[in-house]
Point group: D2
Chain length 250, copies 4
């Protein structure tokens, strides 16, 4: 098989504005996520950021992307609607999409799911324990029954999403909340996975289990067929599978 | 129970531009659909159209609407994005939405489903036979195993939708195609029903079976609870259900 | 509307074998659950138990039951396969089914869902907090964002179920686990709700929130149409909707 | 990748009882289906039949089967309940299952889906046209928008199934009916595909498109992880992820 081409999209704002975040992710969060993916010989990850022309998501770049990962937080509103539509079209054509953490409020996620994508939250650096809901699923291979992140932001239910196709993880938080922290949906030919962890002020994307899940997820989200180009063709009367004649209004 | 308040939204363009369509629907398609609904004593239907201020869908009007029906075709692009977002918000709060025929390409339908909503089509006035897929569903009560429309536009698969929550009708066309012509989805607290029939150049909304289905559908889509207002509240440490202390970065 | 006819089925074994359980539920768990339902003027609940002839679930009794609730634990294997098939048929016809707690392993639940229905468990009388996943759903009306049970058995993920149609509750346990403690499915014309709480050694079915949820749930599960009788009719050539002639093998 | 191990199960009754069917499938339908699969170098198909000991589905045979295909019709009742449970367990562990044609009424299909699986039918050798509902799905790769079978039995809606995870095909019949002729579900770790064509009295399993779909389907249904063994472990207090003490009844 050809290597899996992943584009890691990063908002790249916190890292530039905050010394604290830059201390954790000196090359930016997107490069840390891409480095994790590139540990796997079958994956070829590159990056794109908000600040690049067309946010780094040109028609050409997306055309050759098998799976796109998305992390954004502070600057959701700065993402151009045109690029959002372009990404939505590619997902419907078959490109995989992995939405990370605060990406729950990204335009592209709300555009594809149709719901509010709201949740409750608290930043207290508390413990998160992610439970595996289906040990037979490709995305959780290599994990035990659960894994923990010692310090994370809390996200709590109700999470404003349509019923997932598959529930992959549910999180337990020390402060008493729960959250559907891993879930999948399909839109057109494209597979979508939402994965909760990854607040910018914790070193979550260095965590071995988190890296493993993201690797598994991009493999799972790989297109299963050549891009399916959207079309709404007219089928004229003489091309109908059954012989018919057009009705003539009396 | 209080009467069910339905707002019938109509694009109201074909009726004003074409003598043929005006001949079929002299008061506009929206008024014909509303008249059908108002045959039922438990339903109170009013109308709103593209040409009115805010397309007739003011905050107040939507706040008191239990179920909105949507017919549009030629002027999807003229519907303001702001109004689309307003309707999407109300659906997530619990307002029912019935999308009719060419509304498959309405901004609001694509916004809520997240897919292309594309299909194939042919206008030959051919016969459509709608089969009931689940005779135990509320929306099909009063129908037999199928009903027919002598002259309709053809819509064919592939229909670019996410898997429906429930498949209600599938259509057979004389020209040889099939189509998922009745299907439901839930977005937040709101119920959505797509119903295929209703091309402007045929008297479909006078058909007794079509009128019955739309009546059943608005009753089925009635909100089951008071509007659920979107929010993403912060839960501070001292309001966490379990006693925790915020982590102090070392 | 006519009163909603609910049959509360109870295994009725623990109560007869254990003084501790009898002390909590002197009339049996089934009578406590039925009493809770009968607080509502629109609900008419009666009981049936394993020990009765045909387990109290005769053809006649089921025919007049709108919604059946099911609690079993120790004696799942003693339920006759014939009665299980009879109940499954009625659910497919439209009868609602509420499966409670250890009923996750009841023959009828596995028969309808098709999966293992397995889970992890611990009996330590620990705290359970049930979070509402969709505040706009009929089943959670009257609740706040969550409610707590001070002492309950723990059930943990992975819960071996097909993806629910709707996720209603997720539980947080003091010992660190999570569980999909409220979920719905549809089978044929019938609505199914699984609700986790209710271990026999705690007074859970006296809890005001638990009673409220069960009341809401039976109303939600009410049949939406007359019973849909299963059939697989032959449609002979001369009854085909389109005129065809049978192919004659050459 | 290792070759995909497929077991083709055949009821093998019509072929032995009827000269007509034997004329079409001299080696039995199961051998024809297996031959089609074995055209692919990545697939290794063997057969098993009702008449063999344990219907050819021993624990060992199933343990090494990646995907099982199932054709039965006249003798559903002769399949032992124990073997049905064994197959259901393997599906939940991750084995793929392809159910063909009249297998809609097989014990294993009803056991896994939970519904009646009923439908309407007519044997008139009429034309069936199968439309692709999602051109981006792995199962339809290599097909055009539709394919036709000149002579087939008719199956019609309502088809008594739970909402599929994915709708793959819908059939149009010359006699006027429609049918959800290709659909998927997941049970535990196992993927299920139902595929309608294949009445015993037509040479359907020699058809190039039918053979292609079955090849695609077994590849799609391949287990995505090692078998997930069912368990319902007790997690004692001292193994709880969070330190708790068992509640002592006052």
């Amino acid at each position: 098989m050809n290597p899996l081409k992943v584009t890691v999209w990063g908002e790249n704002v916190h890292e530039r504005q905050s010394e604290l975040i830059r201390g954790i992710y000196p090359q930016g969060m997107h490069n840390c996520i891409a480095d994790g993916l590139n540990e796997a010989p079958d994956i070829q990850a590159t990056t794109a950021t908000l600040q690049e022309e067309e946010h780094g998501l040109t028609v050409e770049k997306l055309a050759e992307t098998d799976v796109l990962t998305w992390w954004g937080h502070r600057a959701h509103g700065d993402v151009s609607d045109e690029i959002v539509e372009r990404v939505a079209r590619r997902v419907n054509e078959g490109m995989g999409l992995i939405v990370l953490h605060s990406g729950h409020y990204a335009k592209i996620f709300k555009r594809l799911l149709g719901t509010t994508c709201s949740l409750t939250w608290r930043e207290a650096g508390e413990k998160e324990r992610l439970w595996v809901c289906n040990p037979g699923h490709a995305i959780v291979q290599g994990l035990g029954p659960y894994f923990e992140l010692e310090h994370e932001e809390m996200y709590g239910e109700p999470f404003g999403i349509p019923t997932p196709d598959e529930q992959i993880f549910i999180s337990w938080f020390a402060g008493g909340e729960v959250f559907r922290s891993g879930a999948t949906w399909r839109r057109g030919a494209g597979k979508i996975f939402y994965f909760r962890p990854g607040h910018e002020s914790y070193p979550t994307y260095y965590d071995a289990n988190v890296k493993l899940v993201i690797k598994n997820a991009v493999r799972w989200a790989r297109p299963e067929a050549p891009a399916w180009k959207d079309a709404a063709p007219n089928i004229p009367v003489d091309k109908a599978p059954e012989k018919i004649t057009a009705w003539v209004r009396p």
